[in-house]
């Protein structure tokens, strides 16, 4: 692990202790069993807000603590370890980043203090089909003298059922598939013409489909430039990818640790099963994947904080490598635990289901391989 600053190691300790003591995987199980439609429980969310993590990225004058993405990554990794379900990622990282990257002063003043306090949830509505394809945006916009009218749909919107506002990526010109012609709007979830349908997904987290029918948006709702927001969207998506990769790394590391304990305690043929080379070598190979994924995640977060040119390539690398490791680890967690791993009573299923949902969000491994290699001119 990279050398942490004093602030980061304090936050890490705090996040580790809180999630272990107050919000362990058992808490997630309770939430799932209770069938909460929102995909998180209010008490957990209030705790997170009370500790100030909701304001990590937000400047002090707007109610936050103005820290960086590497620091947020440390907290998200700990959340990932215990599968803590909350809008922290969707709102305090993605929603806040949209405003920080593209918001006007008025928009920031209006929304960021609420996001920092955990009172307002702002989330990104980007995808329209089963796969992440940001340039494929079709949601139609008609321009009028006093603003815009949005018609179309969005799907798999994180925390869509509990959001107070949506950052909506929409098409103001061109065709789906064009990078030009995309505009971002910030629209309150109670605007006329928006309907929200919650989705029940395998990972039990909050997702929703949105329908926009003739939703009016004034010129003051535009984030960034009209017709020219693809770069802004891409920068925002990269922050989302790196942050989610940090959470995924935490989830996978926890799956690794729990599996390693099992290899050291489960006995068959009169010996611990970890003494069999077929399992020991797999564990050692997974250890390599874990170290590699960590290097990529830390490099991506650092690149964002440094404003490096390598942000796109490193964020694709981080999302892909964290995704590959989490994918394999969540499978091997079940396989190495044998039958018990298949039971709902055991936690491995939660890791597996969360793994696939997080892999798919903001581009899976295949998406990021294509995005990565396109930088090399082939």
């Amino acid at each position: 692990m990279a050398v942490l600053t004093e602030e980061q190691s304090m936050l890490k300790d705090q996040a580790q202790a809180w999630s272990r003591d107050e919000s362990p995987v058992a808490k997630f199980r309770q939430m799932r069993d209770s069938g909460v439609a929102m995909g998180f429980d209010d008490a957990t969310w209030s705790d997170i807000a009370a500790m100030g993590w909701t304001g990590i990225l937000i400047p002090e004058e707007l109610g936050g603590s103005g820290m960086d993405h590497a620091t947020f990554g440390v907290v998200l990794e700990e959340m990932g370890r215990q599968l803590v379900a909350s809008p922290l990622f969707a709102s305090s990282l993605v929603g806040a980043s949209a405003l920080l990257l593209g918001g006007t002063d008025a928009q920031r003043q209006r929304w960021l203090p609420g996001v920092a306090a955990g009172d307002a949830i702002v989330t990104l509505a980007v995808d329209e089909g089963p796969h992440h394809r940001p340039e494929g945006i079709a949601l139609q916009v008609e321009r009028s003298i006093d603003g815009f009218t949005l018609t179309g749909s969005k799907t798999f919107v994180l925390e869509g059922g509990s959001a107070d506002a949506f950052v909506v990526a929409a098409r103001t010109s061109g065709e789906p598939g064009d990078k030009a012609g995309i505009t971002l709007f910030l629209i309150p979830s109670d605007a006329d013409g928006i309907s929200v349908t919650s989705l029940k997904m395998a990972d039990s987290r909050g997702y929703a489909d949105l329908t926009f029918s003739n939703v009016k948006a004034g010129t003051d709702t535009v984030l960034g430039e009209v017709d020219n927001a693809f770069d802004l969207l891409d920068a925002l998506l990269d922050r989302a990818r790196a942050g989610l990769a940090a959470e995924m790394l935490g989830t996978a590391c926890e799956a690794f640790d729990r599996t390693l304990v099992y290899l050291k305690t489960r006995e068959q043929f009169g010996q611990v099963i970890g003494s069999f080379q077929s399992l020991g070598h797999r564990a050692a190979t997974l250890f390599m994947d874990m170290e590699f994924a960590r290097s990529c995640v830390e490099a991506a977060l650092r690149a964002i904080d440094d404003g490096s040119d390598e942000v796109p390539i490193l964020c694709s690398l981080a999302k892909c490598k964290a995704g590959e490791f989490l994918h394999d680890m969540s499978n091997d967690m079940i396989q190495m635990h044998g039958g018990i791993g298949m039971t709902d009573e055991f936690d491995a299923g939660f890791f597996l289901k969360r793994a696939r949902a997080a892999e798919a969000a903001f581009g899976g491994q295949s998406f990021h391989r294509r995005r990565y290699i396109s930088h090399f001119g082939i």
Binding site: S275, G280, A283, S295, F376, I378
Partner: protein, 394 residues
């Protein structure tokens, strides 16, 4: 001065020194012969070798009192970046720089460091490593070459195998049996002059047609007691320590073939497969190239991170995974290259093939040793399972 300012000012210093001391004719050239295995340089290479060696930047982080560069790890990285930027490759390398020197710095006496280190740094004495034997590969401690104690000297009989660069080397360090009744506590770490009477070297031809490895036979070779490193019968720990440096060195050497010269993947893809609408015409191959490049990238980032950590804590058994990754990286890349070259990818010799094509074939074949040399992939996974993960039975 902040550490960043210090690095910036060192960068200036390194740049200036390189401008004055690196012959521009050598930019992006690899040293002739096998670097560090005894190449005796001439002309500009000789100039570059002696400039670099005198400055101590062939061993940038070794203490200046022994002729090393005395640089911090951060400065050494800056130096490496500046050298890479102008295509300056050090002609001083091999076992002395990568393993023997670092081990001596850990375990050597003051006198031994003064004796052995300066000629390594200057590139004057080239070392080979006497480890593997016909019956001692992965089970290295089963080695049988016997050094009999004769009071003020040893008499050595036996043989070593897979000895890289033995034909060119001036000296050998290695592990030898000094007590037949104790497997691990019967091994001593010795150095010997390769010109000693009774030393015979026979090259081994590999599947690549090349002979980078040798057999070395010892017939009543006299080794003075001053060439014993550490205590008699306590050489196994030094030998293992050195292997850690070997893996660290291999892990730290970055992607790329050990003998070099292979193409980059994008160029071969463009030249031999071609693009359609700006993308590689073979979509399946495009994804495999992406995966290979991403693995190499992740490996490089991890190498940096482990390097930073090793600078603080010393080499860690976790570098075992870097050795495994290095082999996988090399072998996958070479396989992709051969596959992309298609029918031109298996030419053996002659004018029908370009030099690069022919070299790629040999490099591909040579890369098969990467998961065997320096500890097999399986042995390294055992070590990681045992020492890093704490699993029993390895």
């Amino acid at each position: 001065m902040s550490s960043e300012n210090r690095q910036d000012s060192f960068r200036e210093e390194a740049r200036r020194w390189l401008t004055e001391n690196f012959p521009a004719t050598l930019a992006h050239q690899r040293p002739p012969g096998i670097a560090g295995f005894g190449a005796k340089f001439r002309g500009d290479w000789k100039v570059w070798q002696s400039n670099l060696g005198e400055k101590g930047w062939s061993a940038p982080t070794w203490p200046a009192e022994f002729g090393g560069g005395g640089l911090t790890p951060q400065e050494a990285r800056v130096l490496a970046e500046e050298m890479a930027a102008i295509g300056a490759i050090s002609p001083i390398g091999g076992f002395g720089i990568m393993m023997w020197g670092p081990t001596l710095l850990d375990v050597g006496t003051e006198e031994q460091k003064q004796r052995y280190l300066p000629p390594i740094i200057r590139g004057d004495i080239h070392w080979c490593q006497g480890y593997s034997e016909p019956g001692a590969g992965s089970d290295l401690a089963n080695l049988q070459s016997f050094a009999e104690d004769k009071g003020d000297h040893f008499i050595l009989n036996g043989s070593k195998v897979w000895t890289s660069g033995a034909l060119e080397a001036d000296w050998m360090y290695g592990v030898f049996r000094t007590d037949r009744n104790n497997k691990y506590e019967g091994i001593s770490f010795l150095t010997l002059d390769m010109k000693s009477p009774g030393v015979e070297v026979k090259p081994i031809t590999l599947i690549s047609g090349q002979s980078p490895f040798n057999e070395v036979f010892f017939n009543d070779v006299v080794i003075p007691k001053e060439d014993l490193i550490g205590e008699k019968n306590q050489g196994w720990n030094i030998g293992k320590r050195l292997l850690l440096h070997e893996r660290q060195g291999i892990a730290g050497s970055g992607g790329g073939s050990v003998i070099g010269g292979s193409y980059d993947l994008e160029k071969v893809a463009r030249d031999y497969i071609g693009l359609e609408d700006g993308k590689l015409a073979d979509g399946a191959m495009r994804e495999r190239i992406a995966m290979q490049k991403m693995f190499a990238h992740a490996y490089a980032l991890t190498r940096h991170r482990f390097g930073d950590e090793a600078a603080v804590h010393g080499p860690s058994p976790a570098v075992g995974i870097m050795k495994v990754a290095w082999a996988r990286d090399n072998q996958n890349r070479e396989e992709l290259l051969i596959e992309m070259l298609g029918n031109r990818g298996l030419g053996w010799e002659g004018a029908g093939f370009s030099d690069k094509e022919l070299l790629t074939v040999r490099t591909w074949l040579r890369s098969k040793a990467n998961s065997i040399e320096g500890g097999t992939t399986e042995i390294n996974l055992n070590l990681v399972a045992k020492r890093v993960l704490g699993l029993k039975g390895y």
